[in-house]
Amino acid sequence: MADASGQTGGLRAWLLTDTPTSRRHARISALYQGWLSFRSNTMAMVGLGILVLLVLIAFAAPLLAPHDPFAQDLGNRLAPLGAPGHVLGTDSLGRDILSRLIYGARITLYIVALVALIAPIAGLLVGTVSGYVGGWVDMVLMRITDIFLAFPRLVLALAFVAALGAGIENAVLAISLTAWPPYARIARAETLTIRKSDYISAIRLQGAGPLRIITTHIWPLCVSSLIVRVTLDMAGIILAAAGLGFLGLGAQPPSPEWGAMISEGRRFILDHWWVATMPGLAIFTVSLAFNLLGDGLRDVLDPKASE
């Protein structure tokens, strides 16, 4: 889109224009203005920074990790912080804690990404169908949603993992199964307000079927409130995954999952405190970052919800 205003007033003016010249222009301009208001929120930027760093660390893990995360060195067990060659010490099998934390970032991201895909999409499907079709379909779907909402989440996840067997994928599945109902509620509420609007009637008069209306005209409008909710939920998902790992129901040893590392270090907590402390700090930092980012995004995308 190299139009006249873009060349005379510079990119900034083109982005901030009040009179967009095309649909894409308007969309990019709205994104940029959202970014500007997001950027002024220091805490949210801190959160974003931490998460970008986490992604980089996860991708560059083989380059960054000073040691093999699985390499045992029984002669050098439980080395304290700052031991030569092991900045964060070693665990009970002599494995370098820093390297394990770095590789653990991959597992955390993997879990978060999977749950963040599965749960909102499932919720979006249920919610939009329920809201658009209405009638008894709506009643049945919402009752099911209510039933899942009424469940104690961690206990339900525990029971699911018990049925499916321990492991990362099953932990992801269990967490997703307990996480989708709020998204369905949000998507349904959005659909109900959109469904009756004139532009939907116009599209319907042009002959668009329900599938086309839901996928191309309703879903895009539900996405922003879902993104906010997902970001705010991420911290909870990380804590749930770590909790399952801690109970031995998530990632299995020798995998360097942070929750499982805490569980391993728990046995020596009184004498060798750093083994359990370091992974806990990692979990805390990442979930704090998601909370900060979520708060910031909410302010930008959904000003009504923030006080």
């Binding site: 469940f151 206990v155 009184l270």
Partner: protein
């Protein structure tokens, strides 16, 4: 003839409770069926003859259609029969009755701490919006939302038990105090007080205070945030301005006017976080070797004792649903606007 309004509402509420409960049972039933563990083998053992196997198979009703089995299951749950635990061969319901008071005691003290600290913190944060105390309240809540509870528990044990020695370690009482007082309610603090044995009370208190504070902190984070936003809403209302204009003291404006109006909403929030504590104490109980329902379910899970897991899940689910409904009802009863 149309039904009167109140009867209609009551019937609808009862209906939705029934459907939710049925859904809970259906999910636990399905989980029990898809388990890769053969319930018959678990009872008769690997070496049983085919005829023994078949007899037990029929006894358990496994030859019936699934829907009939589900009917049996519901009937069992109504009679509070969750089968026998594979670990100790005792009825699961007896085990649950034994471990539940421990969880109740912990969660109740936890929610108490959460209310006593969280509500005033939220009110002050709202009244002094933007001040340092508001910032502190924000950070306290943010950290609470972001901290893994089991890790905070470990750190608490390390610092207050391992290094400072201020509190008792894991477990409900020290080893010399086990079974000293007769069990009446199953809650050691109350039993000790009833018995007048203050040594046991002190010891039990030193054990419960750390995990209860931990749970209290988590509910405080939620309660204080909600209190703050409820209060902000009230304080910006016109009747508050009127009260101030007519010269009412700030204390009376805040506590007698604004706070009075958020009580119902607040009770709902507290009921919800109480429900969360009852179920969410799973990890805390593990860390502190607290013999409650959370450790019971987890231990059963790790030894594939499915009857115990599902029984525990049903009980926790029931309590959770009941507290949810209770807070809904409370809202409708006390807040005329919600009717």
């Amino acid at each position: 003839m149309p039904l009167p309004n109140w009867l209609r509402t009551t019937l609808l509420t009862l209906g939705s409770i029934a459907v939710t409960l049925l859904g809970l049972l259906f999910v636990t039933f399905v989980i029990g069926r898809v388990m890769p563990i053969d319930p018959v083998l678990a009872i008769v053992g690997e070496r049983a003859s085919q005829s023994t196997y078949d007899a037990v198979f029929q006894e358990l009703g496994l030859d019936k259609p699934l829907i009939v089995q589900f009917g049996y299951y519901i009937w069992d749950v109504i009679r509070l029969d969750f089968g026998t635990s594979l670990l100790n061969a005792r009825p699961v319901s007896e085990d649950l009755a034994r471990v539940f008071p421990a969880t109740l005691e912990l969660a109740t003290l936890g929610i108490f701490i959460g209310i006593v600290l969280g509500v005033p913190l939220g009110v002050v944060a709202a009244v002094r919006k933007g001040s340092w105390i508001d910032q502190v309240a924000r950070v306290v809540a943010l950290v609470g939302y972001s901290m893994p509870i089991f890790w905070l528990g470990l750190m608490g044990l390390l610092i207050f038990y391992g290094i400072l020695g201020w509190v008792g370690g894991p477990g409900r009482v020290g080893i010399f105090y086990v079974d000293v007082v007769p069990s009446v309610t199953g809650m050691i603090l109350i039993d000790a007080a009833l018995d007048g044995n203050w040594d046991v009370f002190k010891n039990a208190f030193s054990h419960i205070i750390l995990p209860a504070s931990l749970l209290g902190y988590y509910s405080l984070a939620y309660i204080s945030r909600m209190t703050r936003s409820f209060m902000l809403e009230q304080l910006s209302a016109e009747y508050i301005t009127t009260a101030r204009v007519k010269g009412m003291s700030e204390w009376d404006v805040v506590w007698k006017h604004a706070f009075k109006n958020i009580r119902v909403q607040l009770i709902t929030v507290i009921a919800l976080s109480y429900a969360n504590l009852l179920e969410g104490s799973v990890l805390t109980e593990i860390i502190f070797s607290w013999p409650g329902i959370g450790s019971y379910i987890t231990t059963a899970l790790l030894s594939a004792d499915m009857n115990a897991v599902l029984g525990g899940t049903v009980v926790v689910g029931l309590i959770f649903i009941m507290l949810n409904i209770f807070s809904d009802l409370l809202y409708k009863v006390f807040d005329p606007r919600a009717r």
